[in-house]
Symmetry: C2
Subunit: 129 residues, 2 copies
Amino acid sequence: MQYRITKQRQLILEEMRKLHFHPTAEEFYSLIKRKLPGMGLCTIYRNLEKFQELGLIEKIQGVPIRFEGNPQPHNHIKCVKCGKVEDLPARITLDEKAIKAMGYQLHAYTVEINGICLPCQKNDKTKEE
Amino acid sequence: MQYRITKQRQLILEEMRKLHFHPTAEEFYSLIKRKLPGMGLCTIYRNLEKFQELGLIEKIQGVPIRFEGNPQPHNHIKCVKCGKVEDLPARITLDEKAIKAMGYQLHAYTVEINGICLPCQKNDKTKEE
DNA sequence: CTACTTGCAAAAAATTTGCTGCTAT
DNA sequence: ATAGCAGCAAATTTTTTGCAAGTAG
């Protein structure tokens, strides 16, 4: 089974690489549609799945799912209120030996931390009053 | 707005605390139903949401969502193939200053690492042959 | 009492799939 | 030529919501 290079795939990868944020499938779709109006949302889903298998991108779990165009290990902080995900310039040391000892094969991974972002903290305060 | 202690809530919390794994909502539901057959799945969802707000438990993002009864910061490794989540006895040092500098209020967090578990690695191999 | 909670069924939201025609190789 | 893809619409899966009746405080 071989992977074909279609213009949809080229465009999807190209656009993912340019991203400076972490869009949901819908967000990414509407972004892509401007460049290739005929594309279907399922093409996004199908290819993002495939690209993840190939280690070219990464899925950021959650509902809705979000995508990460940078395949290199790095860190994310996710807001538990609004779902926004930002890159986190923190140092994290990971004991890879312990993980391998459990039998796991480390995938291209990102470390995800949960928190509440500034805008959401302010919203919460407003509601409490 | 006050939180009432209903028998559903007592049971849900009690069972969560006993868990030695990380069930999906459905899995947890069928577990609970044995003890209180009348309960609805939406009661699980509604209360797990509430308990998370109160910091009593944690949601593990993904589809389907999984639950963590241990509210203390610790680490997870998730299999990207089957979705299973296991506790990870690794040391991770986290630069909390960098996170606060971004304006984030750190939530009770767990660090999540992605990988491929042993059974899934074996499945993959079988398919390739 | 009365405000919060439940269970049900129905709705909404997100993701996946079946199929038919298209296209890279 | 032909295996793999795309687009569409429909199906599935997961989660949320409206509402009437029940119950804790």
